[in-house]
Symmetry: C3
Subunit: 172 residues, 3 copies
């Protein structure tokens, strides 16, 4: 736990960075600036507390591996944008919501329970040997936005959504 | 039909947005600013008329599903840039044309006839069951730029060319 | 050979362009501005000399096909960033190196010898007929960053790393 209070300059700088990165790739921050600033402040508090920007609306464990799916932008942002017009926190909203053509719904928690997550991790099977052997490079998938690339290792940062390397999984 | 005449501010704003998005992703607007502004004006007129930015150099039907392939940037822009150095309208030009290393040729209409388009739509087969079953997510393809991503549903906007969700097709 | 000396304006312009493109896609130029400017100057000299921006730290042959893998950003940048925190020239550095969390190591030459490169080129086999026949478009891979897209021909410029069309290879 921490009493860390980010300065308004820090909040503003991250706000602007996230806004720019979002717009460049077709995402949108919530246009309610006060609301969004509170969430950005929460991201900075979590970054100081845990070492990574865990979702400000969920309880993080403090173990990066356990929390990987809820580092913002979380693995659930894009399906929630599609289905509900907003992510779980409503930090990100869809084009329709931004344009006022749709009300953002309440967004139910899509994250599986710890038991289900653990089971899924255990049953994770590698792509079949045949599919691998026929391609010259492995294909990596960003768990946040679905970006695909073929290279020996995933990129340091997803060029589309800026998620870090450990958010990539082997896809083929 | 409409008498809508976009303001010069609206034209300028869309011009700048398209130019920025193009340059960020390695595309280029026609450097002839007057010519390009006329086309941008046509896009705004079509947006008001049809609800989407149908190609200003083609006759749109007014049915979004029928016109999907000619919403700008159209499905034919990228092959035309490769082959002729410009899209059908010459709103977009290739690097070589921009650099004066190549003259943009006349660009023949690449869009198939309505009969051929309809036949193609009918014969569209889903990817084979085997190829699907071996991957953890479906792979989506942007029909405009070929961007691929693996996720439950396509993104709201193509992060590369900004085409909307309904321009994506299931690829694998 | 040439005595071409780029003007400081030319160096500055390319520096800014490379810096912007890098940051937009999650890459970083070396923060040592003097060092980086020297490399950018070397790129401009090579561009004038060879017609393309061959790596300033390697000996180019002057034949674009032979040098394709060392046109900057080279085919080896991304694996070197992952493994050593910097590319061969240290023009590009990783996030960790930029943040001071890691010292860039000496980067050994990853480029295969001419004999090995030639053998690899001869043994290059096309993807199997089956994998091709089941997809509606060929999949292209950027040899620099691994970007994948499905279209009749590769894009004129890689939207992620700005490598030119001839840096793409048929992947599937």
């Amino acid at each position: 736990m921490t009493d860390f209070e980010p300065s308004s300059e820090e909040v503003e700088a991250l706000f602007e960075q996230l806004d720019r990165e979002a717009e460049e790739m077709g995402y949108h921050l919530n246009p309610d600036a006060d609301f969004t600033e509170d969430l950005v402040r929460g991201l900075l508090v979590n970054e100081r507390r845990y070492g990574y920007r865990a979702c400000p609306c969920r309880l993080a464990s403090g173990d990066r591996d356990d929390d990987l799916d809820i580092i913002c932008p979380c693995d659930y942002r894009d399906p929630d944008l599609n289905e509900y017009g907003a992510c779980y926190c409503a930090l990100y909203v869809s084009e329709e919501v931004l344009a006022g053509e749709r009300e953002p719904g309440p967004v139910p928690e899509r994250r599986p329970s710890p038991e289900v997550r653990e089971r899924a991790a255990r049953s994770l099977t590698s792509p079949s040997a045949e599919s691998i052997s026929s391609l010259s490079y492995p294909v990596w998938r960003c768990r946040v936005c679905g970006y695909l690339c073929a290279r020996d290792e995933p990129p340091g940062v997803c060029p589309i959504c800026k998620a870090e390397m450990d958010r990539f999984e082997r896809f083929i």
